[in-house]
C-alpha cells in the first residue's frame, strides 16, 4: 500500500531567512524520490513539512487526499532519521514492537522483520550491544514496523562508513521490492541518490529552489554493477553539473 504525495508552491521562512522557495513536486505512489543539494538548502525542512513536523509558510502538501496533519494522525508515515531514533533501553524486538503499539497497528511480526533485515540472533540485544550499521537496520525496521504508506528518510546512511553505506543502500533497495512504499529520501550523496531513486530532485543552495528533477533511466532495484553502467555515470554527472557547474562535474564522475 502506498499513496502519492503532492507538493505545491511550498515555501518556508525562518524569521527573515527564506529556507525553501516555492517547491513543486509530484511523487507517484510507490515512487522513490531522492532530494539532494548542498547543506542548508532546506531538503530536511521539506521532509519535515511533509511529515507534519513543521508547517509551510505558504503552499500546500497533500498526502493521498489529505493534508500532512491528517495523514500523520492516520499513521501513514514512517520516519528514518540520520541519528537512530531507537530507545537506548529497549531490546531490538521490543523497539520494533513499540512502534506497533504506539501506532496501534500490527504491521509486520517483529522477529520476522528483524531476521529479514539480517538481524537474526540479535533480536534481544540493546543498541549499545550492536554495531552502527545494525542499529540503523533496527531503526529502519522500527520505522516501517507498522507498515506505513510513506517512508520519509533523512540521510539514513550518512553516519555509516563508505562500505556500510553502499551495502545498506543496496539492501534497502531490495527491501522495498516486497513492500512498495512512497519514499522521500534526503541525502547529500549523489551516487547513493542515483543508485536508489526513480527520480532525483536537485536543490539549489539556500534558499532551496528546485534546479531540476532528474529521472534515473533504469528500473529498481539496482545492483552494485549499476555503478559502472553508462546510465549511472551519465545521470550522476548530470546532477554534479547542476550542483557544481560543468568544470567540476567531469572529474568526480570519471573516478
Amino acid at each position: 500500500m502506498s499513496v502519492p504525495i503532492s507538493i505545491r508552491g511550498v515555501s518556508r521562512r525562518f524569521g527573515a531567512a527564506l529556507a525553501l522557495d516555492a517547491v513543486d513536486l509530484e511523487v507517484a505512489a510507490a515512487e522513490l524520490v531522492a532530494l539532494v543539494g548542498p547543506s542548508g538548502c532546506g531538503k530536511t525542512t521539506l521532509l519535515r513539512i511533509v511529515a507534519d513536523l513543521e508547517t509551510p509558510s505558504t503552499g500546500e502538501v497533500r498526502v493521498g487526499a489529505d493534508g500532512p496533519a491528517v495523514a500523520r494522525r492516520q499513521r501513514l508515515f514512517g520516519l528514518v532519521s540520520q541519528r537512530p531514533a531507537v530507545l537506548p533501553w529497549k531490546r531490538a524486538v521490543d523497539d520494533v514492537a513499540f512502534t506497533q503499539r504506539v501506532a496501534r497497528r500490527a504491521g509486520f511480526p517483529a522477529r520476522d522483520l528483524l531476521r529479514e533485515f539480517g538481524l537474526g540472533g540479535h533480536e534481544d540485544k540493546r543498541p549499545h550491544q550492536l554495531s552502527g550499521g545494525m542499529v540503523q537496520r533496527v531503526n529502519i525496521a522500527s520505522a516501517i514496523a507498522h507498515d506505513p504508506q510513506v517512508l520519509l528518510m533523512d540521510e539514513p546512511f550518512s553516519a555509516l562508513d563508505e562500505m556500510k553505506r553502499e551495502e545498506l543502500g543496496e539492501w534497502f533497495g531490495r527491501t522495498l521490492l516486497d513492500r512498495p512504499k512512497t519514499v522521500l529520501f534526503v541525502t547529500h550523496h549523489i551516487d547513493e541518490a542515483v543508485m536508489l531513486a526513480d527520480r532525483v530532485l536537485v536543490f539549489s543552495p539556500a534558499p532551496g529552489r528546485v534546479l531540476d528533477v532528474v529521472r534515473v533511466p533504469a528500473p529498481r532495484p539496482r545492483e552494485r554493477e549499476f555503478r559502472r553502467d553508462p546510465r549511472f555515470v551519465e545521470t550522476a554527472a548530470h546532477i554534479r553539473q547542476l550542483l557544481f557547474g560543468r568544470a567540476e562535474a567531469l572529474a568526480p564522475a570519471a573516478r
Binding site: R73, R75, L79, A85, L87, P88, W89, A103, H146
Partner: protein, 254 residues
C-alpha cells in the same frame, strides 16, 4: 583488585582511621567524657538504651520517609507540569526558589506556630528541604529526551501520556535517581534537625535532651546511628540507581 582487598579498603581502613582519630582526640584534647566519650561507651549506650532509642528512631524514620515520598511527589509532579505547561514554570519556579532560600529556621517557626509539634510539621519541613533537587533534576531529565525519539513519537501520532510515560520519564530516570542521593539521605538529617528545634520525639529530641543532661554518649550514639542510616540510604539509592541507569555500560550495572 580482589573482593577481599576492596572490602578491606572501603570498610576496615575508614573504620579504623575514625577510631584512631577518635582516641587521639580524647587523649590530646583532654576534654571531659561528657564532651568526648570513648567509642566503647557510645556502643554500650546504643545497646543498653536500645529500646528508648528505637522508639525515637522510628519517629524520625516516619517523618523522614513520609517527607521523602512527598518531596518526590511534589518535585516530580511539578517537573511534569513544567514540561506539559511551560507557562507553569514561569509561575511556580520563582516561588519554589524563594521557598528554598527562606531560612529553614523561619519556616520551622511558622509551621510550629500553625500546626504545633506534630508529625505534619516535621514532614512539611522535610518536604520543603527535599523537593527542590528532585524538581530541578527531574525537569532537566524530562527535557533530556532525544529529539529524534520525540519526532518518532509525533510521527506515530502518540498521545501526550504515551510520550511522557514511555520516552520522557525513562530518559529522566537517571536524573531522578541522582536527586535521591541528595534528598534521600538529606531527609534523615532534616528530620533530626526539625526535631531538635521543635519536637518532643525523635532522634533530634534525644540529642537535645542529652545535651541538657550532659549525656555526650547519647549524643554520639544518635549521631552514629544517623550517619549509618544516611550511609545505608545513600548506598541503596546508588545501587538501585546503577541498575536503572540505561546510560551506564552493562558491566557497571551488575
Amino acid at each position: 583488585m580482589g573482593r577481599v582487598a576492596r572490602a578491606l579498603l572501603r570498610v576496615v581502613v575508614p573504620v579504623l582511621s575514625i577510631l584512631g582519630l577518635w582516641y587521639a582526640a580524647i587523649l590530646l584534647s583532654g576534654l571531659p567524657a561528657f564532651v568526648i566519650p570513648r567509642p566503647e561507651r557510645v556502643l554500650q549506650t546504643l545497646v543498653t538504651e536500645r529500646r528508648f532509642i528505637t522508639v525515637h528512631l522510628l519517629e524520625t524514620l516516619k517523618a523522614a520517609a513520609l517527607g521523602f515520598v512527598l518531596a518526590n511527589a511534589v518535585g516530580i509532579g511539578l517537573a511534569a507540569l513544567f514540561v506539559a505547561v511551560p507557562a507553569g514554570r514561569q509561575v511556580v519556579m520563582p516561588v519554589a526558589i524563594t521557598l528554598r532560600n527562606v531560612p529553614y529556621v523561619a519556616l520551622v517557626t511558622v509551621l510550629v506556630l500553625a500546626f504545633g509539634d506534630t508529625l505534619g510539621s516535621k514532614v512539611a519541613i522535610v518536604v520543603l528541604a527535599g523537593f527542590f533537587p528532585v524538581l530541578v533534576n527531574t525537569y532537566r531529565g524530562l527535557l533530556a529526551a532525544d529529539r529524534v525519539v520525540l519526532d518518532r513519537m509525533r510521527i506515530l501520532s502518540a498521545s501526550g501520556a504515551e510520550t511522557f510515560l514511555y520516552v520522557r520519564l525513562p530518559y529522566a530516570l537517571p536524573f531522578i535517581v541522582s536527586a535521591q542521593e541528595i534528598t534521600g539521605s538529606g531527609s534523615i538529617i532534616v528530620a533530626i534537625a526539625a526535631e531538635w528545634m521543635i519536637s518532643s520525639s525523635g532522634l533530634g529530641y534525644v540529642i537535645n535532651r542529652a545535651m541538657q543532661q550532659y549525656r555526650g554518649d547519647q549524643v554520639y550514639a544518635v549521631a552514629l546511628l544517623a550517619a549509618v542510616l544516611s550511609f545505608v540510604i545513600y548506598t541503596v539509592v546508588h545501587v538501585v540507581g546503577r541498575r536503572l541507569d540505561w546510560q551506564a555500560p552493562p558491566e557497571a550495572r551488575a
